[in-house]
């Protein structure tokens, strides 16, 4: 339905719409490159045309211009383009680093690609298919994965793209600036209906977005949603208040898989305390030092042995959850662990030894 609206609202154009802060950054680098291109095309074209006409066979031109020394000329057209390209490199790289580093306060949304659709899971469990609703003026971090082959999440109006890989989390972030409905494409060829793996990103004003959220919640409640209401209330973006892991407020997956048995802050040291883990740099038993990001949490759930915290022996007593947990539950668990802030006890427990105090 939105696709049709989208199709009608767009006419012929030579410049893509821009609807995010990243779009402006990328466009600037693009324009600089366009300027560089024009400069060289005009320079080379003018030289070729000038020489081509002047020295054409039959033209009575003076052809005995002295041959200048080669080396200075060669060095000119080696060094000058080199400097220009290096400037562009540094610029492009700095924009790329910005676009690769989500702000700490970014709202996380989980996106799963599968042949041939995008499944979106908002914090709190709300789901969409081939649509993504986001508010303006808020940093949104998309955590991507795939159920089958490689897909690529691409929103031209935001000038961003990231591959969604099976068995791995990747991420991208953006900050939408203009309300509207924008194309969402799969950019990585993924099989028969790759061309139809299209959707739309709906950017709304914060007020509209709040309204939309409310609608969704009402709909879900009237549908008789299976998940507890506490969780919806609790796991919103502002809900990350200091607290212990309380089974009554944790998502169903946390209960279903029995995580609490070992990972509750007040139990024995069977497993490390998860509070405040996310985003920290932790030291592992084999001496490696890693940042506990979404991918780290995901992999630790599926392959507990790949990273054992220092102080917990050499092999994990935790079983693998590979094959038992689906992408939705995984997103739920990861989001839940992220929402746990340090609860005071973490400081005294050497569970996840930080590298820096």
């Amino acid at each position: 339905m939105t696709m049709r609206v989208l199709a009608q609202s767009r006419g012929f154009s030579l410049w893509p719409e821009s609807a995010s802060t990243s779009a402006e950054d990328v466009d600037l680098v693009y324009l600089a490159l366009l300027g560089l291109t024009l400069f060289f095309v005009v320079l080379i074209g003018a030289m070729a045309l000038g020489f081509g006409v002047k020295y054409r066979a039959g033209a009575k031109s003076f052809r005995d211009h002295p041959i200048r020394k080669t080396l200075p000329i060669e060095l000119t057209w080696i060094v000058a383009p080199l400097v220009m390209t290096l400037v562009i490199f540094v610029w492009g790289a700095s924009v790329f680093v910005d676009l690769g580093t989500p702000p700490a306060d970014a709202r996380s949304i989980y996106v799963v690609g599968k042949q041939w659709m995008w499944k979106v899971q908002h914090p709190g469990g709300r789901q969409e298919i081939n649509e993504l609703h986001v508010p303006t003026a808020e940093s949104i971090k998309l955590v991507l994965t795939s159920q089958d082959v490689i897909h690529s999440f691409y929103v031209p109006a935001f000038r961003i793209k990231r591959d969604a890989l099976p068995n791995q989390y990747t991420s991208l972030w953006f900050r939408a600036t203009r309300p509207g409905v924008y194309h969402l494409f799969c950019a990585e060829y993924c099989g028969t209906d790759h061309a139809r793996m299209r959707g739309s990103v709906v950017v709304m004003t914060p007020t509209d977005y709040q309204q939309w959220l409310a609608e969704e919640v009402t709909e879900r409640r009237s549908d008789g949603a299976t998940r507890g209401r506490d969780e919806e209330k609790e796991s919103g973006p502002d809900s990350a208040t200091s607290r212990r892991i309380d089974v009554s407020t944790s998502p169903s997956a946390f209960v279903e898989f029995g995580c609490a048995a070992c990972h509750q802050s007040n139990t024995t040291d069977a497993g490390p305390n998860l509070a405040g883990l996310f985003g920290r740099t932790v030291r592992l038993a084999d001496g490696r030092v890693v940042v506990a990001d979404e991918e780290f949490l995901r992999r630790s759930i599926l392959e507990p042995n790949h990273a054992i915290p220092s102080g917990y022996g050499n092999s994990s007593s935790m079983p693998t959850y590979a094959g038992q947990i689906n992408d939705d539950q995984m997103a739920e668990l990861v989001e839940f662990i992220k929402s746990l802030e340090t609860n005071g006890e973490g400081a005294t427990q050497p569970d996840w030894p930080a590298t820096t105090p």
Binding site: D286, E303, N305, H306, S315, T320, A322
Partner: protein, 211 residues
């Protein structure tokens, strides 16, 4: 080596010999990158999934690998002596060393075959029948064995080709009137044989000694 036949495109024997040598080394460079792709795959997974690889490596018969290394190193020695003999006109000696080289190559394959059959018996062949009991992680243990079989298998194919070439050379040197007639070709065959030996020199520690 005045009696080396000269192909029409060359001016003299020296040029032909230089071309053959360079050609062989170019070929070996491509072989380095052919195996190099596999070494890269192995190294990346070794670094990523080290615990599983260490556990899987313990299942290999290190002593069989070590014995096989001795066999191959010896065969390289006899090959070098065979080439040396041919270049110095000692035809019978050359043939005898070539035969020894080929036999050592066969011994290597025999030991390798024995090892494969032990691996099969212990359900270490990747696929549906792969052993399930691993403490670290069966998926990556299986990945180790995929690479083990592909790398040693590709090496074994090269060994087979080498044995064929060395046997053929032995036959030709035996039949020819002058041993130096084939010295150039024999030197090329030797380069190939030693290269296959070098591949094993790296495969042995990578696969058997990663622990």
């Amino acid at each position: 080596m005045a009696d080396t036949p000269l192909a029409h495109q060359f001016d003299d024997v020296a040029q032909q010999r230089e071309a053959a040598g360079l050609g062989m080394w170019t070929f070996l460079a491509t072989e380095v990158l052919f195996f190099g792709g596999l070494f890269t795959v192995y190294t990346v997974y070794r670094v990523k999934d080290s615990a599983a690889f260490v556990e899987a490596c313990h299942e290999l018969y290190m002593w069989l690998g070590a014995i096989n290394t001795v066999v191959l190193l010896t065969s390289s020695w006899t090959m070098a002596l065979g080439v040396h003999a041919a270049q110095h006109g000692e035809r019978r000696r050359a043939v005898s060393f070539l035969v020894r080289t080929a036999v050592l190559g066969l011994v290597f394959l025999l030991i390798k075959g024995t090892e494969y059959s032990l691996d099969i018996r212990e359900r270490l062949v990747p696929g549906p029948g792969f052993r399930a009991e691993w403490t670290v992680d069966p998926t990556h243990a299986q990945l180790f064995f995929v690479l083990y079989f592909v790398m040693t298998g590709l090496h074994a194919v090269h060994m087979l080709a080498g044995i064929g070439v060395v046997s053929a050379m032995a036959f030709m040197v035996w039949k020819s009137r002058s041993s130096t007639h084939h010295a150039n070709a024999l030197e090329m065959a030797g380069l190939y044989w030693h290269f296959v030996d070098i591949v094993w020199i790296f495969l042995f520690p990578l696969l058997y000694l990663v622990a």
